[in-house]
Symmetry: C2
Subunit: 160 residues, 2 copies
């Protein structure tokens, strides 16, 4: 993880596509590059407003494309380069995709300074549901664990 000369060109690319995307009015100031075998496999820029999709952050766009190309839901053997520290949504997506490593340039504080909710969401996620800004409530349902029971009964399930 220490030899930054391998990584800086991919971070520079993530920063470059982020800047270009802003200048072309295509979305927010974020870019991501997914690298496999030393080469860029996919890139992503923020497409939230362009595609009416609040989940279309640069990292998610790049992860979805990479998985489609590789024909799998896992990014083993890949490294993700982000122009900015991933927000909690994107960090969660990274954990589910399980790449080998993540590198980022700007920080969540830089994002906050530019007007984005990244730091707020990090703070909110650490709170118990009842204390969050978006009211979140756990309701007791008699059959709440029924889907998990069906899952545990299932033969030959594809885990993820």
């Amino acid at each position: 993880m220490t030899d930054s000369s391998t990584h800086l060109p991919f971070l520079a690319l993530a920063i470059e596509i982020a800047t270009e995307s802003v200048n072309l009015h295509q979305g927010g100031p974020f870019g991501a590059v997914i690298v496999r075998d030393g080469k860029a496999l996919t890139t992503g820029t923020n497409r939230v407003t362009a595609s009416n999709d609040p989940t279309a952050h640069a990292e998610i766009v790049a992860i979805r494309d990479a998985c489609e190309i590789l024909g799998t839901h896992q990014l083993t053997g890949c490294t993700i380069y982000c122009s900015c520290e991933p927000c909690p949504m994107c960090l969660g997506a990274i954990y589910w995709a399980r790449p080998d490593a993540v590198y980022f340039a700007a920080t969540r504080q830089d994002a906050t300074q530019a007007g984005f909710d990244d730091s707020l969401i990090y703070e909110e996620i650490a709170l118990s549901p009842a204390n969050r800004q978006i009211p979140t409530q756990h309701l007791i349902c008699p059959n709440a664990t029924q889907p998990f029971e069906a899952w545990s009964r299932l033969d030959s399930k594809r885990e993820y």
Copy 2:
């Protein structure tokens, strides 16, 4: 938030579609329903393995569909019902979509017991990047904030 009789039918629907999806071998044991004006606008079930998309959790599927139907990246006026407490990725997506409220049935502990990484990811997100299981490193780039500078210079940008 206290009259659960309004909410339990939508949670029951989320649980029902989650169970059905498992029994049909369509994906993991999770379901979500997005409600607007007292009616289900969209539903989502987990499609991670079916679509080779690690981000295709029930909530994300339902959020993307709802935004497409409404022609916006925001879910103001909507409520999200989840068969299980949203994972950090989905909770992040919920914060970016900004619905009015969230209700859930099973908990992250139930998900963990069924073999899913939800609790692990909650714990990892709270750590500083250097201490995480997926190696994550902040590298100093001279032009790290260039995309944000382009963004701040932009006239008539569409914020999100």
